[in-house]
């Protein structure tokens, strides 16, 4: 059943039910309407899935291409930034290695107290 037809039937059924009174003596038409209502799942999970299937807007191809380009640029910049931070941390550990080769106290912290012949 199409949504428009369903809405129309729902309104009619609601109106009839208001005039008829009790729900026990429903006719065939009303029973049909209530069967449709019962099939209409109102659980939030189903509604979320339905939203993504039907309710979300679509984007034109230029907007999609632009979004992808922005995502690539953001990924590249973040990658470069993180790599720079990694390079700095490696350089810091090399500095610690250098200082431990020229400061006796730091040198004593390592197991090896000897310098090698290639200036450490």
């Amino acid at each position: 059943m199409k949504k428009e037809t369903f809405d129309q039937h729902l309104e009619e059924a609601t109106e009839q039910l208001r005039t008829n009174g009790g729900a026990d003596d429903l006719g065939g038409f009303e029973r049909g309407v209530w069967a449709e209502i019962a099939l209409h799942d109102e659980r939030w999970t189903t509604r979320v899935v339905q939203f993504f299937r039907e309710g979300i807007p679509t984007l034109p191809m230029p907007a999609v291409a632009g979004s992808v380009a922005i995502a690539v640029a953001a990924g590249v910049l973040t990658g470069l930034f993180q790599a720079k931070a990694y390079g700095e941390s490696v350089s810091e550990s090399m500095e610690a290695q250098y200082v431990s080769s020229i400061h006796p106290v730091l040198r004593s912290e390592s197991e090896d107290h000897r310098h090698d012949s290639s200036s450490d």
């Binding site: 993504f52 984007l59 992808v68 990924g75 590249v76 973040t78 250098y98 106290v105």
Partner: protein, 151 residues
Amino acid sequence: MRSFFSTFILCAIVGLLAFGGVYFWKKSQIDHHHEHLSAFEWFCEEFDVGPEERQKIEALHLAYFPECEDHCIHYADTKKTLAEIIEDPGLDQHPEHAKAAEQLAQLKKEADKEFIDFIYSVAGEMDPKSSERYLQRMKGWLEKTTEIVVE
């Protein structure tokens, strides 16, 4: 036309791929560069030491190492002795305890002095801009050695 949801997923995947590609490419370059780099080579590179300066500075390092090693071994032995005294409850108030602690503090002072003298002699062979940067960075380590001793 694409739905907003599928566009979002597509952008997230492409963005992550771009990030991963660039990050791991640069990381492998950094790792490869540092893999066979000695501490002294790092120093030359970091402080823009030229070939001529490098020879003189390398000679200074090589001349300093034996003195540094002796001091290091002496310091490590004294530290070990002090640790043994501290662990022994019978030597808690013993004069040996205070003596070893004083000796360690004295060795730390001497080590700092040697370190300062050495970095100034190295800085003397560098160009003014690099030497200033070198001294500033190395002096920062004096505080760290004090923290290590306190620990």
